[in-house]
Point group: C2
Chain length 205, copies 2
């Protein structure tokens, strides 16, 4: 559902301007600043049951709260990071302290040189302890940054351990029961797509 992503984007924009604005936004402002149409903004907010006021728009602070109420789990979600290669290690500082509800609290790797440490406030465990730690910390969300060949197996273990959502960076198809949400961010495929469209538009050379 794309609406969920848009709601995140609306919220981020509202938080960025918080303080320096009159307390309300119109659908066309929100739309303009987030790259969608005004009708879409209104439809999205309607869908989560948030009402505005004719002529006065939507109260910003309340809207942020409403979106948070809709999207976030109240206590926040601990996140596991599986795979401490280049990409995995780069993601740790990306999230460290940046998000109020999502925190990477445990990382896993098979390489003993990488485990036992604490990086960016995140404790690194050997891969063997995956089930144990996930159960202990009640982790439901994971980021997967292992090599493609190891992805399906790791994902299966995550799901079996209780994880319900996986953000997968490995260029591999992951097959899991549909109760588990898997979103694959495949950088190579995204680049191939972009190169394709880049070639299409304004082809000169």
């Amino acid at each position: 559902m794309k609406r969920i992503e848009r709601l995140s984007v609306y919220r981020r924009f509202l938080q960025e301007i918080a303080g320096s604005e009159p307390g309300s936004v119109y659908s066309h402002e929100l739309a303009e600043k987030t790259g969608v149409t005004p009708a879409q903004v209104r439809r999205d907010l309607m869908e989560i049951g948030f009402a505005g006021h004719t002529k006065k728009g939507y109260r910003s602070a309340e809207l942020v709260a409403a979106i948070g109420n809709y999207l976030d789990s109240p206590e926040g979600d601990p996140v596991a990071l599986v795979g401490l290669g280049n990409l995995g290690r780069a993601l740790l500082p990306f999230f460290a302290g940046h998000h109020p509800k999502l925190k990477i609290t445990a990382a896993f790797d098979t390489d003993p040189l990488k485990t036992g440490r604490v990086i960016c406030g995140c404790r690194c465990y050997p891969f063997d302890q995956l089930e144990e730690v996930i159960a202990e910390e009640n982790i439901r969300v994971a980021i997967l940054t292992v090599p493609a060949a190891a992805a399906q197996k790791a994902a299966g273990r995550l799901a079996a351990a209780g994880v319900r959502g996986i953000l997968n960076f490995a260029p591999a198809l992951i097959r899991l029961p549909k109760a588990v949400t898997v979103e694959t961010m495949d950088i190579t495929i995204a680049l191939e797509k972009i190169a394709f469209f880049a070639r299409r538009s304004g082809d000169e050379s």
Copy 2:
């Protein structure tokens, strides 16, 4: 267009199994292995004008060639990497030598400590030389891994320098003339979405 992504995925699968297969694939095999429906596979291949043979499926080697012919620019595309923070540096080894058509050939950063070097076969330039190097190497595709606050400005310079497609990792809306393709991979928003669905399914605690 999602079809482009699926074609990339089909190709990758076919390349992975190349050699260890009978030379042909059926739409249902390809579908099964890439997570789509057989009808979709047939429709996609039809759309790029690749014909199979009733009862014998699609010739693998020719299909790979047809997809390549459709997707790739024949000479390959040099890619610029803008921003050598944690994420940018992690992407260099990710691509180094892994893709026959897409190679990161130039990287840029404002920090003089990071420039002047060659990392993973990619030369690092100061940000000032962006226009110059992009013109010289005829770069059309870029990956943007600068902080959100710098993203719009950097994207604008890239577009002005001739870049036609940008893969943006900065959590920021980028506004450019529509002749430039921008695809934003927003990790935070993807995680928020996954956490949302993770909470929805199998909610127990």
